[in-house]
């Protein structure tokens, strides 16, 4: 699904250059759920930006879904983001002026889908995250967890192949965090590839595979663990939460 080789990304400001990614290589298979961990400033978000075509990179190759993306134009990248990728952000990134329904609608509009199709997708997605009753609410009228669920619904409605999540639970308490993780699990179970950056070990272990980033490099390419462990861990977590 996602194949990066020797990706290099340098941020240049007036005074200094920051090597945010240095020889960054990573392979994510279709249907995988990968979590990315690492200290602050290690380049996790930069990696996600590059992976999600939100930002360009300086050198290396990146094959997304079998396509080399280094030569794509800005609008081609927009198209891929719109159709193939779904984002979940730490700060939710809902559009404050739009209600829940319209927020979920945003990427579908850009895809140019018909009204009936959009309506059906939105309703289904909101149903899946359990917010059908809140369709007319504004983001400011929702709790953080509800807002993040709307963001997940926005992803679901678009039905992407790849979901990129940057600390999706970072602004949530642990109960809310679990709700979101459960949602992601269910989405992954239906075959969608997920790459999730997180600081929380509890969340990280729910992925099939953890990657560690340090100073812009992947430090430990572990072999994929068997998914059996997942349930054990979540059971353990449930008991600690009591």
């Amino acid at each position: 699904m996602l194949e990066m080789k020797n990706i290099k990304k340098v941020y240049r400001t007036d005074t200094i250059q920051t090597h945010a990614l240095e020889d960054f290589s990573l392979l994510v298979e279709s249907g995988e759920f990968v979590s990315v961990m690492g200290p602050s400033g290690s380049g996790k978000t930069t990696f996600l930006n590059v992976a999600g075509l939100l930002d360009t990179f300086d050198s290396g190759t990146y094959i997304l879904d079998g396509k080399d993306v280094s030569k794509l134009s800005d609008s081609e990248m927009s198209r891929i983001r719109n159709r193939a990728i779904g984002f979940v952000f730490q700060s939710f990134n809902l559009i404050p002026d739009l209600n829940v329904f319209d927020n979920v609608d945003v990427p579908l509009r850009y895809r140019g889908l018909g009204a009936a199709d959009r309506k059906q997708r939105i309703e289904r997605a909101l149903d899946l995250v359990g917010l059908s009753s809140r369709a007319k609410h504004l983001p400011s009228q929702l709790s953080g967890g509800q807002q993040q669920r709307v963001a997940v619904a926005r992803v679901l409605a678009g039905d992407p192949k790849l979901i990129l999540a940057d600390e999706p639970t970072g602004n949530l308490d642990s109960l809310m965090a679990r709700e979101i993780m459960d949602l992601l699990d269910r989405i992954n179970a239906s075959g969608t590839t997920i790459v999730m950056v997180t600081h929380s070990p509890e969340c990280a272990v729910r992925a099939q595979r953890q990657i560690h980033v340090l100073d812009g490099r992947v430090v430990d390419l572990e072999t994929p663990r068997i998914s059996l462990a997942r349930n054990e861990v979540s059971a353990g977590m449930a008991s600690t939460l009591g």
């Binding site: 978000t45 939100l54 927009s78 159709r83 984002f87 002026d97 850009y110 895809r111």
Partner: protein, 400 residues
């Protein structure tokens, strides 16, 4: 472009949009009414006098020497003036008259006319010399004055007159008026019409700008004499320079003033010119200010929504989508503003007309104003919209 969600999102920024809407509405009202005022002034300035204005000069000579109490002395001096002026190179014709085109006034009198039931008011001026030549005026009927038309005895009234075609039409309709008679109000001193001026207009405080009666005779006395001089095209300057010297040579016991009809006309229309320039400046500055306002307010809106724009980009909006978003938003706001503006335009016009200070608003002006401000809004939105389009989608992952 999806208008529905844009409008719904706009509701949350009501104040900002309401401001732009009112700004545009008032701007349209001001611009259209200002243009209307300008057009009204232009309309007044479009009137023509019927004369060769550009080449006419005037000179006045006011005596202070005691000899000017004597009628024959005055007569001699004026005749000398006429001859001397005529001899200046570049002079086509000269007349001694009390008339000055575009003076915005003059002298008038009440008269009666053969076959016209009422008394009527008309401008009336005496003239000696080549009046038609000095004005560059054309006759519709009849003839010019001759030297014989001026009686030798200064106490005797003249027997003939030349009138404007508009006066002729008012009195006698389309018929050729040569030979008809105009008298004083008491029915005395009859004057036979010998000529009709094709065109005549001199603004007057009463509504008699088109009506004139010229009589041959002594339009001068001990208080001074006044001359109209027509020069060859281009010779106006040299003739003006020579005039005072020439008149001093004839008789130095007088104070002279010299000027041109274009100056008189400019002065007469100075109020109109002022209104036109002032209103033009107001329009230009106002449109500029409104553009700056839209630009500023939209720029701030873009700055405020950077994160949102980045999110939209991340969710798949192309640069074009973002550009279109802001342009559509602006289009909606401008259109509402212009719609209210049309109402405001007519309201302001109604008010100004009720104050007797303006003319009715023609609809096409409103149309032109709408198009102009619509384009203005578009142009003012493009820079911030472009800035919005260039917001990087990577903004979306940045935690504030």
């Amino acid at each position: 472009m999806p208008i529905g969600p844009i409008v719904r999102a706009m509701k949350h920024n009501r104040t900002r949009f309401a401001l732009i809407i009112f700004e545009i509405a008032i701007t349209l009202a001001i611009v259209t009414n200002a243009v209307n005022m300008i057009l009204a002034q232009r309309e007044q300035m479009k009137k023509t006098s019927g004369f060769d204005d550009d080449n006419i000069l005037w000179a006045s000579a006011v005596p202070f020497a005691p000899e000017f109490k004597e009628q024959s002395y005055i007569e001699n001096v004026v005749m000398g003036d006429l001859r001397a002026i005529r001899a200046i190179p570049g002079v086509k014709a000269v007349a001694a008259t009390g008339f000055l085109p575009w003076q915005g006034g003059g002298s008038s009198g009440t008269m009666k006319a053969e076959g016209y039931p009422d008394k009527f008011q008309a401008q009336t001026y005496g003239a000696r010399g080549d009046l038609l030549g000095a004005l560059g005026a054309k006759l519709k009927y009849g003839r010019a004055f001759t030297e014989n038309d001026t009686p030798v005895d200064p106490n005797e009234s003249t027997k003939v007159c030349i009138i404007s075609s508009k006066l002729s039409e008012k009195l006698w309709g389309k018929a050729n008026p040569i030979g008809r008679v105009i008298t004083s109000t008491e029915g005395q001193t009859p004057r036979t019409v010998v000529g009709v001026l094709d065109e005549f207009y001199n603004p007057y405080s009463w509504n008699i700008g088109d009506y004139v009666r010229f009589t041959p005779g002594r339009a001068y006395d001990g208080t001074g004499s006044f001359y109209l001089i027509r020069s060859e095209p281009g010779a106006s300057k040299s003739v003006a320079d020579a005039l005072e010297k020439t008149l001093v040579k004839v008789n130095a016991g007088r104070v002279f003033r010299v000027g041109t009809v274009p100056q008189v006309k400019e002065r007469y229309f100075s109020g109109n010119t002022l209104v036109i320039r002032a209103m033009t400046a107001v329009i230009v500055v106002l449109v500029f200010i409104t553009a700056l306002g839209i630009l500023g307010i939209t720029s701030l809106a873009v700055a405020e929504r950077t994160k949102q724009i980045g999110t939209r980009r991340a969710l798949g909006a192309t640069k074009g989508d973002i550009l279109k978003h802001f342009l559509t938003e602006n289009w909606i706001v401008t259109s509402i503003g212009l719609f209210l503006g049309i109402i405001a335009t007519y309201a302001l016009n109604f008010f100004l007309v009720s104050q007797l200070t303006d003319t009715k608003m023609p609809w096409y002006l409103v149309g032109v104003g709408v198009v102009l401000l619509w384009l203005n809004g578009l142009v003012a939105t493009i820079p911030p919209a472009l800035r919005a389009a260039s917001v990087s989608p990577a903004i979306a992952t940045r935690t504030v």
